[in-house]
């Protein structure tokens, strides 16, 4: 179940990161940097929020 949550979150983050990188990039390098940054922030931010909810909900 946790795996389903994580995979869905990851898929969502990948799609959004690639979308914004495609929208804003000027060159190939810029594209991957933008996608990597967005993906990293989305995944880490979501995990941080999930753990915060888990710890405060106990």
């Amino acid at each position: 179940m946790i795996q389903d949550h994580f995979l869905t979150l990851f898929l969502f983050s990948v799609l959004v990161a690639l979308f914004f990188a495609t929208l804003n990039h000027r060159d190939r390098r810029g594209f991957w940097i933008s996608a990597g940054k967005t993906l990293g922030w989305m995944v880490l931010g979501s995990l941080a929020l999930a753990y915060l909810m888990f710890w405060t909900g106990r």
Binding site: M1, D4, F12, V16, F19, T22, L23
Partner: protein, 130 residues
Amino acid sequence: MTESFPRWKAYGVSLLTLLVPGLSHWFIGRRARAGAFFALVSGTFLAGVLLHGGLFPFSSMNWLFRLGSVAEMGMGAPYVLGRALGWGRLDLLDTADMMFGYGNTFLVTAGLMNMLLIMDAFDIAVGRKE
């Protein structure tokens, strides 16, 4: 740089994305980006449908669902087609489904992405963006 369109034509061209995601960019000459946008926005929409998200009607009693329907309408033709085919029809049992919330998020995001594409295509068409 793309030759800029007259303003009235730019409005028409940018709204083509409501028929097929990325069609405006294709028409403007950004073929590679158009393909990527088509794959990404359609993929997000399809994932939302497969995850049992709801395609909300504007007449929903719940104001949050009504707000969601405005965002989802940004998809244009796929939203209308999906509603006509009965995809994402709200069922009380679906709301208890673990993936219902995720499906909604995907569908709402796909609509909002498509709205951004309309604005981006307009900016390119009038020469405001390269």
